[in-house]
Symmetry: C2
Subunit: 319 residues, 2 copies
């Protein structure tokens, strides 16, 4: 079902408009929050502004969609800013010379390339802490809800989130990490590096939208599947594209154990689509109107997968 959706051109202009409208509101709220940073050192504030100035705003929009229209609008926007700060911090960290050593991100110099490594690290930590401050300071919010939102943010970056994913991605598993086979290892790293933040967006949206526990567990599966699909698509692009086309350094995965490297492009494309279909089923099962989600997912995945012409052809021939 969803497979069709990502293969077809989008015929409804309403959802892209809604997404663009939300992105504008989000950008305004990001500007507002960054203007509150003074008297922080001007250089740090400039680095934070630069790092936060662009992005697909996928996680904030996901949060917004899951929360629904009945949720507190200001709280949704504030929490969306907090999530985007965590996401941005994670990209700054990933790009560092001691990690992926990337000089280009979203078509522009990475934070350390422009502001130096020390300022980049400090900016990332500042953004992480500020995200917690935003969630912890949400007004008109039940204390239990606020605590749950803080827990999502501190968890997603932590030992069972992005930090763990990045460590395993860079330095691999040690014997004490009790890993299974290659698929287990790849799935775990993708869950930690990509799924964790998507799940955080979905879970924060579920809290703000007052969703029931049953819906939440399906929404969590939606986030997990979407994360796995996203990472596979990203790996395909990293292998098959050149950096000018996608605006970030590529070829960084050479030698890494990815789904693509282990199972090949055709199987990776098939798996990506199967995951998107599974994500879609979870969404429908949770009782959310799937159209705006599908539209957003199409907008991300169609151009990503369209950049995999050879693999796509193979997959088409194998169907």
């Amino acid at each position: 079902m969803h497979q069709q959706a990502i293969d077809k051109p989008n015929t409804s202009p309403r959802h892209p408009d809604a997404q663009a409208g939300f992105a504008r509101q989000l950008d305004q709220r990001i500007t507002h929050h960054l203007s509150q940073l003074a008297p922080a050192p001007a250089r740090l504030v400039e680095a934070a502004r630069d790092a936060m100035s662009s992005g697909k705003r996928l996680r904030p929009y996901l949060l917004h969609l899951v929360a629904g229209d009945a949720a507190d609008r200001d709280a949704v926007l504030d929490m969306a800013v907090a999530l985007e700060m965590v996401h941005t911090a994670s990209l700054i960290i990933d790009d560092l010379p001691s990690m992926d050593n990337a000089l280009l991100r979203r078509g522009r110099p990475t934070t350390h390339a422009r502001f130096g490594e020390a300022t980049a690290i400090l900016t990332a930590i500042g953004l992480l802490n500020h995200a917690v401050s935003i969630a912890n300071g949400l007004p008109r919010m039940d204390a239990v809800q606020r605590g749950a939102l803080v827990a999502i943010l501190s968890g997603v970056m932590g030992w069972q989130g992005l930090v763990a994913g990045q460590e395993l991605d860079l330095n691999g598993f040690s014997d004490a990490d009790h890993t299974g086979d290659a698929l287990d290892r790849i799935t775990r790293i993708n869950a930690l590096k990509t799924g964790a933040l998507l799940c955080a967006a979905v879970e924060a949206g579920a809290i703000l939208g007052g969703r029931a526990d049953g819906e939440r567990s399906l929404l969590r599966r939606f986030g997990e599947d979407l994360g796995q699909a996203f990472q596979i698509a990203d790996d395909l692009i990293d292998m098959l594209s050149d950096s000018t086309a996608i605006g970030k350094d590529v070829g960084k995965d050479a030698g890494k154990e990815t789904y693509l490297a282990v199972f090949g492009a055709e199987e990776a494309l098939r798996r990506c689509r199967a995951l998107l279909a599974s994500a879609d089923a979870a969404l429908v099962g949770a009782g959310l109107s799937p159209e705006p989600f599908r539209c957003m997912i199409d907008a991300i995945f169609t151009p990503m997968l369209d950049r995999v012409p050879a693999a796509q052809q193979q997959a088409g021939a194998a169907r």
Copy 2:
């Protein structure tokens, strides 16, 4: 008054015993919290354990003293662990190659020297997030208090805390930072780099001990003065000692604008003692029994200032 205390040998064995007893309890609680990190990558957990394995435990003990015996013992210990995690994370960050590039800390290899730069950065971020998790998850705690404790932690590392201090210390002030003279700049950096965490310890203790607002503002001044004194003493040691004697890399301040560099060793020593006296007065004004604080401060500053023989002699001759 306090000047006498730090010049005299300590005659009361009770307080050092109490401090050592608290440190043992704290170490047990640190071990407990670190054992909760699994299934985090084993290498990250090992790096966290290594980084947290030693230290003066000054901030935790300050928190404990300010909280008093009537406070919830478990909450004090948990919050003390959280503060020590933030402190440890800040040291890991400060020592990085792109910052102070230090290979030795507390007589042992720094985290990046032993585990590599990427793991060091990830460990620091993991510790920061875990500290927030601990505060946010404190049981038997009023939600407002819990929120206040989370705010202390996210604030101390953030744009108006350690991250700002480190940025200014490394890259200096820009025109947009609206600084005053050298003394203003030095005081601000010291407040951000050293005072912020001592104030955080004192404020967390005040919250856990249910101290009144009037007491809290005096306790805050105590923390600020102690922070300024501590940084001046640390600068004196950095200039005058060798690394084997103090267990960390020295000479890192060469060329930096410190109180010592601008005003000289004699004035720095005088200022350090004046700040300790002011801190002591604030403590007495807040109505806390000053003896255990004095004992702790003596134990820190006497050996520090005793390592400044030339400067101390000059100061003695000038009296």
